[in-house]
């Protein structure tokens, strides 16, 4: 299938990046059931690192196996699969060329004394393993935000020079942010904006709530409609270079399917580029996960 006009237009937004970065973004946007639509659904599997294996995989023990996630992402027709070094490496040969992969270069864990993330992979790893992109998490609002941004800066420069796309997980948290504030619409838009300013090719944020997290920002939202998820997502997209960046939204906490589909419709109607959904997928039996992902893809295709 040839690159569609829609995808070509998206590539053109990234005018400051070398052709290799665009080629890898095209690999993601031209893969799977959403190929060519400018939309993407991505499977992230960093739960094991973050929450431990049993909390992640006991609900569906098949998911302990690294090959399971490759298979799930491929069979469901997703756009890409993201995970830390060990998970990607453990299937990189068996599934070479079958699905674009994103090597997550930093990781947190639940045993850590620090709320930071450790750098656990390299650009060289991503190249050697045939990945299309690197992934990196920043925690705006945390005491680690600045060192994380500086790590991201260096890795991003190196990755782009090698033609790799850069996916940034921008997850606000920290001493001055309440749990509610972490997903507040202003904070979410701010987090997405900062990722764009740092040069992210794809930005991952959480679906924004109607909460306002930064008191100083409240006045600015008087004339911004944030009454519905759709409106809030429109605002987040606007905050990422007037909609000229690929922004995908996490699936968030495990929830009922109807609630999830409704949320996806809200994301879609707000102009989101897609979803990146981990727990909600791999913690279900594979057929159920594939059915659910098929439904989500249908929503993005406007069929539902």
């Amino acid at each position: 299938m040839r690159t569609t006009e829609r995808v070509r237009k998206i590539l053109d937004w990234y005018e400051g990046d070398p052709p290799g970065v665009k080629a890898n973004l095209a690999r993601i946007l031209m893969h799977g059931k959403l190929a060519g639509t400018g939309k993407a659904v991505i499977l992230p599997v960093d739960q094991g690192f973050e929450h431990g294996p049993a909390r992640s995989f006991a609900p569906n023990p098949a998911a302990y196996d690294p090959h399971y996630h490759y298979q799930l992402a491929i069979e469901a027709g997703l756009s890409a699969y993201a995970a830390p070094l060990g998970m990607i490496a453990a299937g990189a040969d068996s599934f070479a060329g079958e699905i674009p992969t994103i090597l997550k270069l930093n990781s947190s864990n639940s045993l850590a004394t620090s709320k930071d993330q450790a750098v656990t992979g390299s650009v060289e790893d991503a190249l050697r393993l045939g990945c299309a992109a690197i992934g990196f998490t920043i925690y705006p609002g945390s005491e680690y935000a600045f060192p994380q941004m500086e790590e991201l800066r260096a890795l991003s420069e190196e990755a782009k020079a090698c033609g790799l796309a850069v996916v940034v997980w921008s997850y606000p948290r920290g001493p001055n942010l309440s749990k509610e504030a972490e997903t507040a619409v202003d904070i979410c838009a701010y987090a997405a904006h900062m990722a764009a300013l740092m040069g992210a090719t794809i930005i991952k944020v959480k679906p924004p709530t109607a909460h306002i997290g930064l008191e100083a920002a409240r006045k600015s939202y008087e004339n911004v409609d944030i009454s519905t998820l759709t409106k809030r997502v429109q605002h987040v997209m606007q905050a990422t270079f007037n909609g000229k960046r690929v922004v995908v939204f996490s699936g968030g906490e495990n929830k009922g399917l109807d609630a999830l589909y409704e949320e996806i419709r809200g994301l879609r109607d707000g102009g989101a580029s897609g979803s990146i959904i981990g727990r909600n997928t791999f913690q279900r039996p594979k057929e159920q996960a594939i059915e659910m992902l098929g439904k989500i893809i249908d929503i993005y295709l406007g069929k539902d």
Copy 2:
């Protein structure tokens, strides 16, 4: 248009820097409506990083788009445009060669727990993107001042060896400085002086007030006339190598136009090299911003 005598004289002040730095300074001083006058008006767009997207761009949503700022700076006939990596990169190709750009290499944000800034760009980025200068903020008086100065030192050395000019935002703040002290005339002059001592090509400070911020300095100001903005700016210019550095003043908080123009007249009469005005410009509709900038330029041209 050939380099004017005035601009040539300014270039001669920078005798310790290689010709490339002067050439890039000349690019800025010979560009736009103030070309050749030795004056400069610069558009800085780091508000999005510092205060978040909605606080920055909701008043004029067109400004969410990175191309908007290039267009605004070009259409208004400004001297240069400064912004962080993502913003500069997103228009670097479309507007290649149309206006000198300044890549802001560090950035703060309102979510941060630290009052520091993160390094978010590199000299290589500036070269690759065709910039005329790098920009860097230091906070004299803060607990981050020394590490920031040391980062500036290293980046400045690297940038100048590559012929890039160095624009330093010197913004005093810190535990021993009251809000009032941050713009006190002695502090402002001191901040400008330190930037000059660190080798800045262009120095950005805030318009100084008649306040004295450092008790130990009060006696020294007994015979310095700081009664008017013009006199205070004369003092700041004197403090930057007897007027032999390019010093531009920020527009500060959003204020009424008449107050702004009056301030610009004060800056001009005090010998300021120009203004660097963000919020006051991009938060207005483009035609209004262009009209306002035209007026400011006229003031610097002595037409008003």
Copy 3:
């Protein structure tokens, strides 16, 4: 389309290479009309460098334009497009992600006093431009063979560490080889074997004739059937790790279409992995070239 069993089997042959190399080989073998068959037809455009622009493109002036070759390769449904730096770069952005590209890293030319090739590109270029492979020519039998092999060794090591495939043009020539010997079956098999020993991912040789080029080898061929092209190609495939390398054959001199198709059938029946055809394609009007390539692809598909 998922990687077929046939392609998966081919990837398994390259067990000493990192997954990224296999992923890029998969990109080539899963692209175009031959996707999944284990066969490949590649468009090489290094004629301009080797023979000059008019000799290459005057028969079909549209081919002077770098975009033409991208379009031809894409529209004809080929597996990959190979060319030197300037040609690849001039379309790398416009056609990002549309067809796997092979950056030819060395080039000869008809004005040269030396029969060597100059290195005219780098692995960094290939990554930056989003290529799937590097290409390199060696001339076994020439006085440049050893330095060329050593250049190939270094570039190949660097490329594979970055996940790029390595395509080796192995073209025997030199003071001890007559024109006839250059395509002799023993020499051709030897050239292919050496490329395999050096670690080539894809090997390009010329269709072998029934001639024997190395007197010392004649006895060894007493019991090898080299009576038909098919038999000779079988031997060449055998000589490349018992058929466990991808070997593509050049189209050779411009010839009549019937003769060309007949040759392709011989290659196919001998187990060749495919063809790499330059002059015979881009020196015809595009529709004729596409028709011819369609026919060749049909032959490899066993439809003709």
Copy 4:
């Protein structure tokens, strides 16, 4: 003056290069009397290195002074000035920002025992001195062609990563090329084509004669009209990516003014991007040179 549509279109041809390279190409194409037309007239002063000072400057002793050439290029409204390290450095400060400069990185001389060129400058020099481009000579056909190409490859990669444009002097010569062949239309087109393949931003060749230099190419020219300079230049432009590279032609041997103007008209009508004229300019008194260059510029402007 804003970048014209014509120049913007030219910048778009260089899609594989970073924005900085385009910005520097724009600096050249938007400078001087031809600004915005897509045409360029460049002053090269490498004669002193190549032929010695007296042969170069005795006819007009003012030209011994490095400042003279800057002044000449500026006063005549040229697009750029090219020279070796010492010449550029000796005026880089005095004329900073006044005219785009091209640092010639290799040089030959008449005392040399070798027909090669020595590398006499670096990319770092070009950056430090504020140049818009590096310049490099290759001699296709000579025994030094391959090492020269490999030097060019490395310097070009480095220069472009720093946003500098790359100007290639492609001057065929060597044991198999007669004096006549050096400017033969096929050889000239070939030399220009190779420079384009190596990634040159601007290509400099000599005006082609109706001679055919490579016997093997003669047949290919049977249907190419090379009867007039205009037709031959059309062919050279075609040979450089179907007219999608900036190609400037040298002035060649000192000749009468009428002959020179006539030649320029031929170049212009053939679609040449402009001229690069050394001896014919700086060996005349300045006023005469300026008058002559004004006339040449008028020809490119279509006024003559």
Copy 5:
């Protein structure tokens, strides 16, 4: 099986080398049917590179397949398997850990105009592929001997720093050596001695004849008994640090089995460390080769 006293004693000879080198030498000496005896039989397959595929493998076509040689060496209970990059890589994964491998880092070929060898692999390759040693050929007496020695020096230094053993093929040849002289006892001893002096861990030479190759050496042999192969091998062993290096002897030209066994007995009785036999093995059907190798091993075990 624990390292035997005999092998421990051998390891102690290499006291200047780091433990990793000894550990890899131990891997070879503790592997296969000769494990622990201090003897070794090694399979070398560089024939394909040196003589071409048909001359090497047509007598036993199964040997075209790289896996064949791994299987042969493993099934015959050999000590190690040596081959160039492509051959080793093509089975490195399938046979990981099954037999110590030696990566041959340089190779000659029958098409070459030069009698040198090309470097075709690296220490990094050897490490990445899990090899126990690198192999390198020098031609003492040839015009390439010094550059080869210098290459060996550098590669050896690098290999040993990484704990790899170094196997040196020391094959005298050159303008001053007759065919007979190449295997003359003095020359052979000299070649082995130089390899030892260069730091070889294992030395490979040809079985010495009673010929004297260097006239100047003849006198020195007056009182050395060189009347039998056994005596000559004793002399070669003496020449390699009084028997304190592992020296293996090649099988030489294809010959009758009885003659071969007789030669092995001579080597054994002279104190040789073992044999390295290529053509005589892989050019026979596998069962015959295994039978032959079993017999040779029995000879070294003193059973025959």
